[in-house]
């Protein structure tokens, strides 16, 4: 089953989203801040990262940049999650290297559609 790294500092949001994703058959690994997300990405090699943008230690934008800079995990698709539904935020996320963008509160069907689309696109069958 695809493995998703969920980076989210809010405990309730993390709990909710992980449970709902697990219920739909995904394997979910967690990180609570930007720094941890890089470490987890390296350790777990997830198929996709759901990245909250306002994070402690280092924020989502910075973490995304660092992941993109690390050859080992640079190819991992990242979907940004942000509470600020502003167009400029979307720009900022894409500029930082995110592949897609969704707003919080999470609308699960929409997010699931995006995840599936991203996995299809990003998971080109290994040669």
């Amino acid at each position: 089953m695809p493995k998703i790294l969920l980076v989210e500092d809010n405990e309730m949001n993390r709990d909710m989203l992980s449970r709902r994703l697990e219920k739909r058959g995904y394997t979910v690994v967690l990180a609570v801040d930007g720094a941890a997300s890089i470490a987890q990405a390296k350790a777990e090699k997830p198929d996709l990262i759901l990245m909250d943008m306002s994070l402690p230690v280092i924020d989502g934008w910075e973490a995304t940049k660092q992941i993109r800079a690390d050859a080992e995990i640079a190819a991992t698709p990242i979907i940004a999650l942000t509470a600020h539904a502003m167009s400029s935020d979307r720009e900022k996320c894409l500029a930082a290297g995110c592949d897609d963008f969704d707003t919080k509160p999470v609308e699960l069907p929409r997010l699931l559609a995006k995840i599936e689309e991203m996995l299809k696109k990003g998971k080109t069958p290994p040669a």
Partner: protein, 671 residues
């Protein structure tokens, strides 16, 4: 002469006049004297001649030798200077010459010339019976006499001249005291005044006559000038004082203006800061509210999924209500955040090019469930060839969604049309959202786009919504250089017209109130709205619950029913009256803020019937229970409660008592 002082001029003039007068007098005197002297000489000479004639004529006749020496007796005559006697052939016969005198006898050739002379010289032809005997020449001693007389006269005239000159000098000197001195004083005064500009001096008024008048006039003139000068000085002083005051006033004004400006700036700054603080607070609060709300929504969704999976419909229904309430709250928070962003000028535009038809279809599919809720039909009219536009698609979407959800709120079993077309000017796109709903009056339209103001308060209660959607939509439209206008006929429907530029520039936006004058309004009469009356039910009732908010109503009803009471519900005051017409309940639990007929109106209405008046009414409201509300309801309710934790138990307690009392009353009636 011209440069001389007046005094000397006068003196000289007097001297000159007296000199001339004296000279003239002297000449006259001299001429007169000379004339008399001459005629005297001539007379004496004539006497001497006739004497000589008588003496000599006989001698000549006789040609006596006595002729020689005949003239010598003239030595006794002081007058005669010389004499000569000639014969008829002009031969000198005798000659007399005063001692010391030069020979004077004229030559015989001169005799003819001297005949007519009368200048102290007489030459007489001596005749006897017409016979020429000889010539007698007499010369008076004129010169000596005359010189003596003339020098005497001249001496006298000189003395008189000197004396008169002295008198003239003295007179002139004296005269200047009366004539020249006043003029001199006048001149001195004039010079002093012209040099010193001192108009207070006055010339002493000693003189009389013309000079006196001149001085008086001069003094008068000085007086006038002095008065004018002092008036001018006073005026100048006043002007100076006024100028000083003006300058002072100016300075004060400047200071005041500065102060005011500073105050104003501070006030503006404070207001700005307050506004920023407000916006910041709202943003923070929104975030703080959203976080737990997201949790509520998320966990509700999880539970709802579980409940649906387990087939637990009752729980699923409750969770659905929690979810919809939470989503509504989230929408409200988002709207408030949008408004505060707009007001703070922090709302940004994200301009992109998109296909209009595609966007319209997306909006339609999003809004479809909402439209279907009240059995409305959504019609789309958007030609495929409409093409692209350049704008903030998210905001266009939100605007259309707001207008469509608004239309579906106020329309039942009707049609909602979204039609899109290009403006004939080729620069704008026009999107119309029309409904066949309740419509609006001009007053309602006027308030339409103001934040936190629905068409009227009761509408908000009846149809829900924050009233922020339209205000936000209008602001979005304005931000993109477009506008929203309304056409409405009460009871027929409303059309919102969104006119947007096809190429939106990212312009600085302003919060603008809608101009009611630009809204065109139909004039059909409104249609009554109370079509919500339930079918008649006369079964006994313990509690009539009047509450417009369905979740609260359901929750309350369930709590009351759990206590074993029979509960009837009503959405509003009008509905409650309808119930009262059918059955008298033991008690009424009443919300205040309701559409169509609110709690206050309901209580007023209840007073009209005695049997209704006896029913105890418990007010259960989320409004702040102010003194005003207490006074308005005084004596007409059994209790007023704030919606909250403790009030529920109180209410149950009171309802219990009321129901007991009601039952007792009915029993008493029956027995």
């Amino acid at each position: 002469m011209k440069g001389l002082p007046f005094r000397w001029k006068l003196t000289l003039l007097i001297a000159l006049i007296s000199g001339v007068t004296l000279a003239l007098a002297f000449v006259g005197l001299y001429v007169n004297d000379l004339y008399q002297f001459r005629s005297d000489i001539e007379r004496r000479l004539e006497t001497t001649r006739s004497e000589l004639q008588q003496r000599i004529t006989p001698l000549l006749e006789q040609n006596s030798p006595e002729l020689k020496g005949s003239l010598q007796f003239l030595a006794n005559d002081s007058l005669t200077e010389g004499a000569a006697l000639y014969s008829s052939d002009k031969h000198l016969l005798d000659e007399y010459r005063r001692f010391g005198s030069a020979p004077i006898s004229p030559s015989s050739t001169q005799i003819g010339e001297l005949l007519n002379s009368n200048n102290g010289i007489i030459l007489t032809t001596l005749r006897k019976n017409g016979h020429e005997l000889g010539y007698l020449y007499l010369k008076a001693e004129l010169t000596e006499n005359e010189r003596t007389r003339f020098s005497n006269l001249l001496r006298g005239a000189g003395i008189i001249f000197v004396i008169s000159s002295l008198i003239a000098l003295i007179a002139g000197y004296r005269l200047q005291g009366t004539i020249s001195e006043p003029i001199t004083q006048l001149v001195d005064a004039a010079r002093y005044i012209s040099e010193e500009r001192d108009y207070s001096v006055r010339v002493p008024q000693h003189a009389t006559g013309e000079i006196g008048e001149l001085i008086a006039s001069f003094n008068f003139m000085l007086g006038t000038i002095e008065q004018r000068t002092s008036e001018m000085a006073l005026a100048r002083e006043n002007l100076h004082v006024s100028n000083l005051q003006l300058e002072d006033a100016n300075r004060t004004l400047e200071v005041r203006v500065e102060e005011r400006t500073r105050d104003y700036r501070e006030a503006v700054k404070a207001a700005d800061e307050a506004n920023k603080a407000k916006s910041g607070f709202l943003a923070k609060m929104s975030h703080e509210l959203r976080t737990p709300l997201n949790a509520i929504i998320g966990y509700s969704e999880i539970l709802l999924e579980d409940a649906t999976d387990e087939g637990n419909k009752a729980v699923a229904s409750d969770l659905d209500k929690i979810l919809s309430a939470a989503r509504y709250l989230l929408g409200l928070i988002n709207d408030v955040l949008d408004i505060s962003k707009i007001e703070a000028g922090k709302m940004e535009l994200y301009i992109e090019t998109f296909d209009i038809q595609k966007l319209i279809q997306e909006v339609a599919s999003t809004v479809q469930p909402l439209v279907g809720k009240k059995n409305n039909t959504l019609y789309l009219d958007c030609p495929a060839e409409i093409g692209d536009m350049q704008a903030d698609s998210t905001k266009i979407r939100q605007m259309l969604f707001n207008l469509l959800s608004n239309a579906s709120k106020f329309t039942e079993k009707g049609g909602i049309t979204l039609s899109v077309a290009r403006d004939p000017d080729g620069l704008h796109v026009i999107m119309k959202v029309s409904d066949t709903g309740i419509g609006m009056t001009p007053e309602q339209i006027g308030k339409l786009f103001k934040a936190f103001s629905q068409a009227d308060a009761s509408t908000a209660s009846k149809f829900g919504g924050t009233g922020l959607g339209l205000a936000i939509s209008l602001q979005f439209a304005r931000m993109m250089g477009g506008n929203i206008t309304v056409e409405s006929t009460p009871g027929v429907g409303t059309t919102f017209i969104v006119r947007m530029p096809l190429q939106v520039q990212d312009i600085t936006h302003r919060l603008v109130e809608v101009d009611p004058a630009k809204i065109s309004i139909g004039t059909r009469p409104p249609i009554a709205l109370s079509k919500l009356a339930p079918p008649p039910d006369h079964s006994p009732c313990d509690v009539l619950l009047v509450e417009d908010d369905p979740p609260t109503r359901d929750m309350m009803a369930r709590i009351l029913e759990r206590e074993g009471w029979k509960v009837r519900t009503a959405n509003n005051g009008q509905h409650a009256i309808d119930v009262l017409e059918q059955v008298i309940p033991a008690t009424v639990i009443l919300d205040l803020k309701m559409p169509i007929m609110n709690g206050f109106q309901f209580i007023d209405h209840v007073q009209t019937k005695a049997e209704w008046r006896q029913v105890p009414i418990f007010v259960f409201t989320s409004m702040d229970i102010t003194q005003d509300i207490r006074e308005r309801l005084a004596g007409r309710t059994a209790g007023i409660f704030q919606k909250g934790d403790h009030s529920r138990d109180d209410i149950i307690h009171h309802v219990q008592e009321a129901v007991q009392a009601h039952l007792t009353a009915q029993k008493n009636k029956q027995t």
